[in-house]
Amino acid sequence: MEANNWTNDILNSSEGITKVIPDTLLFSKIQNRISIQNSVSSQWIWIAAASFTILVSLNIKMLLSNTTKTTAPTETIISSVSNSNQLY
Protein backbone atom coordinates (compact mmCIF):
# COMPACT_ATOMS: atom_id res chain seq x y z
CA MET A 1 0.00 0.00 0.00
CA GLU A 2 2.77 2.40 1.05
CA ALA A 3 4.84 1.37 -2.00
CA ASN A 4 1.85 1.91 -4.25
CA ASN A 5 1.19 5.40 -2.88
CA TRP A 6 4.84 6.32 -3.20
CA THR A 7 4.97 5.07 -6.82
CA ASN A 8 1.85 7.06 -7.71
CA ASP A 9 3.27 10.17 -6.03
CA ILE A 10 6.40 9.90 -8.17
CA LEU A 11 4.42 9.28 -11.36
CA ASN A 12 2.20 12.29 -10.65
CA SER A 13 5.07 14.57 -9.67
CA SER A 14 5.10 16.20 -13.11
CA GLU A 15 1.55 17.47 -12.57
CA GLY A 16 1.35 21.25 -12.40
CA ILE A 17 4.54 21.61 -14.44
CA THR A 18 4.89 25.09 -15.90
CA LYS A 19 6.40 25.99 -19.25
CA VAL A 20 9.95 27.28 -18.94
CA ILE A 21 10.82 30.43 -20.86
CA PRO A 22 14.17 30.17 -22.68
CA ASP A 23 16.97 32.65 -22.03
CA THR A 24 16.31 36.02 -23.69
CA LEU A 25 19.76 35.86 -25.33
CA LEU A 26 18.89 32.64 -27.14
CA PHE A 27 17.36 34.40 -30.13
CA SER A 28 20.44 36.54 -30.69
CA LYS A 29 22.62 33.40 -30.39
CA ILE A 30 20.51 31.79 -33.15
CA GLN A 31 20.79 34.89 -35.34
CA ASN A 32 24.56 34.92 -34.81
CA ARG A 33 24.85 31.28 -35.82
CA ILE A 34 22.74 31.92 -38.93
CA SER A 35 24.91 34.86 -39.99
CA ILE A 36 28.12 32.87 -39.29
CA GLN A 37 26.72 29.93 -41.28
CA ASN A 38 25.96 32.22 -44.23
CA SER A 39 29.38 33.89 -44.19
CA VAL A 40 31.20 30.57 -43.77
CA SER A 41 29.32 28.98 -46.63
CA SER A 42 30.30 31.73 -49.11
CA GLN A 43 33.87 31.61 -47.81
CA TRP A 44 34.00 27.86 -48.47
CA ILE A 45 32.67 28.36 -51.97
CA TRP A 46 35.55 30.74 -52.72
CA ILE A 47 38.10 28.37 -51.17
CA ALA A 48 36.73 25.47 -53.22
CA ALA A 49 36.80 27.56 -56.41
CA ALA A 50 40.40 28.67 -55.75
CA SER A 51 41.52 25.07 -55.02
CA PHE A 52 39.89 23.87 -58.23
CA THR A 53 41.60 26.59 -60.30
CA ILE A 54 45.00 25.75 -58.79
CA LEU A 55 44.45 22.04 -59.46
CA VAL A 56 43.48 22.64 -63.10
CA SER A 57 46.42 25.00 -63.71
CA LEU A 58 48.86 22.47 -62.17
CA ASN A 59 47.48 19.75 -64.43
CA ILE A 60 47.86 21.93 -67.52
CA LYS A 61 51.42 22.82 -66.50
CA MET A 62 52.29 19.13 -66.03
CA LEU A 63 50.83 18.22 -69.42
CA LEU A 64 52.76 20.99 -71.15
CA SER A 65 56.04 20.08 -69.47
CA ASN A 66 55.57 16.37 -70.41
CA THR A 67 55.15 17.14 -74.11
CA THR A 68 58.29 19.28 -74.30
CA LYS A 69 60.39 16.94 -72.13
CA THR A 70 63.45 15.24 -73.70
CA THR A 71 64.50 11.65 -73.05
CA ALA A 72 64.51 10.90 -69.37
CA PRO A 73 67.73 9.50 -67.70
CA THR A 74 65.99 6.20 -66.86
CA GLU A 75 65.14 5.68 -70.52
CA THR A 76 68.85 6.18 -71.42
CA ILE A 77 69.92 3.45 -68.97
CA ILE A 78 67.29 1.02 -70.30
CA SER A 79 68.35 1.57 -73.90
CA SER A 80 72.08 1.08 -73.05
CA VAL A 81 71.31 -2.18 -71.17
CA SER A 82 69.24 -3.61 -74.02
CA ASN A 83 71.93 -2.70 -76.58
CA SER A 84 74.66 -4.68 -74.83
CA ASN A 85 72.38 -7.48 -73.55
CA GLN A 86 74.56 -7.54 -70.47
CA LEU A 87 72.59 -7.56 -67.26
CA TYR A 88 75.50 -7.50 -64.78
Partner: protein, 182 residues
Protein backbone atom coordinates in the same frame (compact mmCIF):
# COMPACT_ATOMS: atom_id res chain seq x y z
CA UNK B 1 15.81 30.03 -49.95
CA UNK B 2 15.57 31.16 -46.30
CA UNK B 3 12.66 33.05 -44.73
CA UNK B 4 12.81 36.79 -44.08
CA UNK B 5 13.82 38.26 -40.74
CA UNK B 6 10.39 39.40 -39.48
CA UNK B 7 8.74 36.07 -40.34
CA UNK B 8 11.56 34.28 -38.55
CA UNK B 9 11.14 36.47 -35.46
CA UNK B 10 7.39 35.72 -35.44
CA UNK B 11 8.11 32.01 -35.82
CA UNK B 12 10.59 32.14 -32.94
CA UNK B 13 8.19 34.04 -30.67
CA UNK B 14 5.43 31.55 -31.39
CA UNK B 15 7.33 28.28 -31.08
CA UNK B 16 10.50 28.85 -29.01
CA UNK B 17 8.81 27.92 -25.70
CA UNK B 18 7.40 24.73 -27.25
CA UNK B 19 10.75 23.67 -28.73
CA UNK B 20 12.72 24.57 -25.60
CA UNK B 21 10.36 22.71 -23.26
CA UNK B 22 10.21 19.56 -25.40
CA UNK B 23 14.03 19.55 -25.54
CA UNK B 24 14.28 20.23 -21.80
CA UNK B 25 11.95 17.35 -20.95
CA UNK B 26 13.78 15.07 -23.33
CA UNK B 27 17.40 15.94 -22.54
CA UNK B 28 17.04 17.13 -18.94
CA UNK B 29 19.73 19.74 -19.25
CA UNK B 30 19.25 23.49 -19.70
CA UNK B 31 22.42 23.84 -21.80
CA UNK B 32 21.51 20.93 -24.08
CA UNK B 33 17.93 22.22 -24.46
CA UNK B 34 19.31 25.61 -25.52
CA UNK B 35 21.61 23.95 -28.04
CA UNK B 36 18.75 21.92 -29.51
CA UNK B 37 16.51 25.02 -29.66
CA UNK B 38 19.24 26.77 -31.63
CA UNK B 39 19.65 23.78 -33.98
CA UNK B 40 15.88 23.49 -34.55
CA UNK B 41 15.47 27.18 -35.42
CA UNK B 42 18.50 27.15 -37.69
CA UNK B 43 17.00 24.19 -39.53
CA UNK B 44 13.63 25.99 -39.70
CA UNK B 45 15.38 29.07 -41.08
CA UNK B 46 17.01 27.12 -43.90
CA UNK B 47 14.28 24.61 -44.70
CA UNK B 48 10.93 26.24 -43.95
CA UNK B 49 10.35 26.64 -47.69
CA UNK B 50 10.46 22.83 -47.96
CA UNK B 51 7.51 22.52 -45.56
CA UNK B 52 4.75 21.01 -47.67
CA UNK B 53 1.81 21.63 -45.32
CA UNK B 54 0.93 17.92 -45.33
CA UNK B 55 0.77 18.34 -41.56
CA UNK B 56 0.37 21.37 -39.29
CA UNK B 57 3.46 23.53 -38.80
CA UNK B 58 3.35 22.78 -35.06
CA UNK B 59 3.42 19.02 -35.73
CA UNK B 60 6.37 19.47 -38.10
CA UNK B 61 8.26 21.51 -35.48
CA UNK B 62 7.53 18.84 -32.85
CA UNK B 63 8.96 16.16 -35.19
CA UNK B 64 12.10 18.17 -35.93
CA UNK B 65 12.66 18.82 -32.21
CA UNK B 66 12.16 15.17 -31.20
CA UNK B 67 14.45 13.93 -33.99
CA UNK B 68 17.14 16.45 -33.00
CA UNK B 69 16.86 15.29 -29.36
CA UNK B 70 17.14 11.62 -30.37
CA UNK B 71 20.21 12.35 -32.53
CA UNK B 72 21.73 14.34 -29.69
CA UNK B 73 21.21 11.46 -27.22
CA UNK B 74 22.70 8.96 -29.69
CA UNK B 75 25.71 11.21 -30.17
CA UNK B 76 26.16 11.58 -26.40
CA UNK B 77 25.85 7.84 -25.86
CA UNK B 78 28.49 7.19 -28.52
CA UNK B 79 30.77 9.67 -26.73
CA UNK B 80 30.04 7.86 -23.47
CA UNK B 81 31.10 4.54 -25.02
CA UNK B 82 34.24 6.20 -26.36
CA UNK B 83 35.19 7.30 -22.81
CA UNK B 84 35.64 3.65 -21.83
CA UNK B 85 38.62 3.47 -24.21
CA UNK B 86 39.71 7.06 -24.44
CA UNK B 87 40.58 10.01 -22.30
CA UNK B 88 37.79 11.33 -20.07
CA UNK B 89 36.38 14.69 -21.07
CA UNK B 90 34.55 17.35 -19.04
CA UNK B 91 31.28 16.36 -20.70
CA UNK B 92 31.36 12.96 -19.04
CA UNK B 93 30.37 14.38 -15.68
CA UNK B 94 27.45 16.08 -17.38
CA UNK B 95 26.36 12.83 -19.05
CA UNK B 96 26.64 10.76 -15.89
CA UNK B 97 24.72 13.30 -13.82
CA UNK B 98 21.78 13.41 -16.17
CA UNK B 99 19.42 11.72 -13.66
CA UNK B 100 20.11 14.40 -11.02
CA UNK B 101 18.40 17.01 -13.16
CA UNK B 102 15.94 19.32 -11.42
CA UNK B 103 13.38 20.57 -13.92
CA UNK B 104 12.96 24.35 -13.52
CA UNK B 105 9.23 24.13 -14.32
CA UNK B 106 8.41 21.59 -11.60
CA UNK B 107 6.71 22.75 -8.40
CA UNK B 108 9.16 23.12 -5.54
CA UNK B 109 7.52 20.43 -3.37
CA UNK B 110 7.75 17.93 -6.24
CA UNK B 111 11.38 18.61 -7.25
CA UNK B 112 12.89 15.56 -5.56
CA UNK B 113 10.19 13.17 -6.77
CA UNK B 114 10.31 14.58 -10.30
CA UNK B 115 14.10 14.15 -10.43
CA UNK B 116 13.56 10.46 -9.69
CA UNK B 117 10.80 10.26 -12.31
CA UNK B 118 12.95 11.90 -15.00
CA UNK B 119 15.81 9.56 -14.10
CA UNK B 120 13.75 6.45 -14.78
CA UNK B 121 12.03 7.95 -17.85
CA UNK B 122 15.52 7.87 -19.41
CA UNK B 123 15.54 4.10 -19.08
CA UNK B 124 12.50 3.74 -21.38
CA UNK B 125 12.79 2.92 -25.08
CA UNK B 126 12.73 5.81 -27.60
CA UNK B 127 9.07 5.54 -28.60
CA UNK B 128 7.81 4.86 -25.08
CA UNK B 129 9.79 7.84 -23.76
CA UNK B 130 8.47 10.13 -26.51
CA UNK B 131 4.86 9.02 -26.04
CA UNK B 132 5.05 9.26 -22.24
CA UNK B 133 6.70 12.70 -22.20
CA UNK B 134 4.31 14.15 -24.77
CA UNK B 135 1.34 12.69 -22.91
CA UNK B 136 2.19 13.20 -19.23
CA UNK B 137 4.60 16.13 -19.26
CA UNK B 138 3.60 18.15 -22.35
CA UNK B 139 -0.06 17.30 -21.83
CA UNK B 140 -0.88 16.39 -25.44
CA UNK B 141 -3.81 14.13 -26.31
CA UNK B 142 -3.16 10.69 -27.76
CA UNK B 143 -4.48 11.67 -31.25
CA UNK B 144 -2.07 14.64 -31.26
CA UNK B 145 0.81 12.35 -30.23
CA UNK B 146 -0.21 9.85 -32.92
CA UNK B 147 0.03 12.59 -35.58
CA UNK B 148 3.44 13.75 -34.33
CA UNK B 149 4.86 10.23 -34.08
CA UNK B 150 3.13 9.09 -37.31
CA UNK B 151 1.55 6.13 -35.52
CA UNK B 152 -2.01 4.95 -34.99
CA UNK B 153 -3.87 6.16 -31.89
CA UNK B 154 -4.05 2.58 -30.56
CA UNK B 155 -0.25 2.29 -30.86
CA UNK B 156 0.15 5.47 -28.82
CA UNK B 157 -2.33 4.16 -26.22
CA UNK B 158 -0.28 1.00 -25.99
CA UNK B 159 3.06 2.89 -25.77
CA UNK B 160 1.82 5.12 -22.95
CA UNK B 161 0.30 2.15 -21.11
CA UNK B 162 3.49 0.07 -21.43
CA UNK B 163 5.62 3.04 -20.35
CA UNK B 164 3.51 3.44 -17.19
CA UNK B 165 3.77 -0.29 -16.39
CA UNK B 166 7.57 -0.23 -16.80
CA UNK B 167 7.91 2.95 -14.74
CA UNK B 168 5.79 1.42 -11.95
CA UNK B 169 7.94 -1.71 -11.95
CA UNK B 170 11.18 0.27 -11.79
CA UNK B 171 9.77 2.54 -9.08
CA UNK B 172 8.64 -0.38 -6.93
CA UNK B 173 12.23 -1.68 -7.12
CA UNK B 174 13.48 1.72 -6.01
CA UNK B 175 10.99 1.86 -3.13
CA UNK B 176 13.13 -0.44 -0.97
CA UNK B 177 16.13 1.88 -1.41
CA UNK B 178 13.92 4.85 -0.51
CA UNK B 179 12.63 3.12 2.66
CA UNK B 180 16.18 2.25 3.79
CA UNK B 181 17.27 5.87 3.34
CA UNK B 182 14.23 7.03 5.31
Amino acid sequence: MAINKSDFTTLYNEYSVLVYNVALNYLQSVEDAEEITQDVFIQLHTSLHKFQEKSALKTWIYRITINKCLDFIKHKNSQKRFFIFGKKSQNEVEILNISNFEHPGILLENKEKAALLFGIINELGENQKTAFLLSKVDGLSNPEIATIMELSISSVDSLVFRAKVILKERLSNKFEEYRKKK
